[in-house]
Point group: D3
Chain length 76, copies 6
Amino acid sequence: MPFVNIRITNEGATAEQKQELIQGVTDLLQKVLNKNPATTFVIIDEVETDNWGVGGTAVTTLRKRAAEAAAAKSSS
Amino acid sequence: MPFVNIRITNEGATAEQKQELIQGVTDLLQKVLNKNPATTFVIIDEVETDNWGVGGTAVTTLRKRAAEAAAAKSSS
Amino acid sequence: MPFVNIRITNEGATAEQKQELIQGVTDLLQKVLNKNPATTFVIIDEVETDNWGVGGTAVTTLRKRAAEAAAAKSSS
Amino acid sequence: MPFVNIRITNEGATAEQKQELIQGVTDLLQKVLNKNPATTFVIIDEVETDNWGVGGTAVTTLRKRAAEAAAAKSSS
Amino acid sequence: MPFVNIRITNEGATAEQKQELIQGVTDLLQKVLNKNPATTFVIIDEVETDNWGVGGTAVTTLRKRAAEAAAAKSSS
Amino acid sequence: MPFVNIRITNEGATAEQKQELIQGVTDLLQKVLNKNPATTFVIIDEVETDNWGVGGTAVTTLRKRAAEAAAAKSSS
C-alpha cells in the first residue's frame, strides 16, 4: 500500500505522460518491494513556476533568464 | 495543534461537504486526543483524476472503464 | 480512494487512540463523500516537539513554559 | 538539499511576495544550517479558503464572520 | 527539478532496495519528462504499521489477522 | 495561518538551530504576508540519508564518495 507523491512544475505534462509516470512508479514498487499495485496510490502535483524556487529564485525567473541567454547566444 | 491533510479526487465535493469534513476531523481529534480545535488545521487538496493513479492507472481511465462497463451491462 | 495525513506532536498517543483516529476518519469520509473504506489510506505522523513550532517557538519550549507557569501558580 | 513546503490560503499573494518567501527561506537555511542554495527547493501551495479549516470552520466562513463583525462595529 | 515522496510501511526495506527506488524513480522522470537527475529529489518515508490505516484498520492489525488466518489454514 | 514543512537530512541539526529555523520562517511570513505568528505552524522533518536521493543516488553514498575524494586529495 505505498503512497507516492510526485511534484513537478506545471509546464505541460500530458495525460499520457502522467499515466506513464503512474504506471512506471507502480511497476517499480512491485518489482523492488513486491508491493500490490491495487493498493499503490500515486498522486502528481503540478506547481506553478512562480510557486517553485531553487537557489532562492522562482522557476519563472530562471526560465526567463535561460531563454534570454539562449536568445542572446543565438543572435551573437 | 494537529495538522490534517485530506487528499481526494476533484470530483465535485461541495463547500458544505468540505465544511463537514473539517468539522468532523476537528471533533475527532478533540474527542480522541483532547486536541484544541482552535489550533487544529485541516487542509483539503482536490486532485485532478488525470493526476491520481491506483493499480497503475489514472482515475480518469478507471472512471471511464467503469462507465463503459455499466453502460454495456444496462444495454445487455 | 482518499489519502489522509494526520500530523500530531509525539506526546504519547497510544495504538488504540491511533486506531480510533484511523477508524473515525475513514467513517467520516464514507459518511460525507461515500468514499470506499477499502481504498481509504490514513497515515499518522508523530513529530518531535523540538521539530514543531507555533508562534515562532518550538513546542518543547511552550510545554516547559506552561509547566513552569502551572508550578508557579500552584506554589503561590 | 532542503525541501521546504509553504502552505498559505489563496488570498492574493503576489509573484514578488512569493519570490521574497523563496529567497528568505533559502537564505535562512544557508545561514542556520549552511545549506547550499543551489539544491534548496521551496514550493508554495495556495489553498482555497473553502479547503482550509481552523477551529472546525472553513476560512471562507471565518473571513465572512470577521467582515460582518467589522461592518457591524463600524456602523454602530 | 521534481520532488518525489514515497511513503511505505516500515517493514524492513533495505538500503539497497531504497537505492533501487531512488534510481528507478529518477530514471523514470528523466525518460518520461526529460527531467535533470541532478535536481531530482526523492524522499522515502517509512511509517510504523500502527500509524498506517487502510479500510479503517491499522496495518499492524491487518498483518496480525493475515498471519492468524495463514496459521489456521496451515494447521487445518 | 501558514503551514510550513521543512525537510532536511538527519545530520545533526541541534534544538537551537531548529528553533532558529522556526523563528526565522515565522518572522518571514509575518514580514512578507503579515501572517499571524500565533497561527503559523512550522514542522521540521529529519530524513535518514539512506532515504533521501539526489541525482539517483542516496545521500549516504554521496557523503561517502565526498569523504573518500577528500581523503584521497589530502593524502596526495
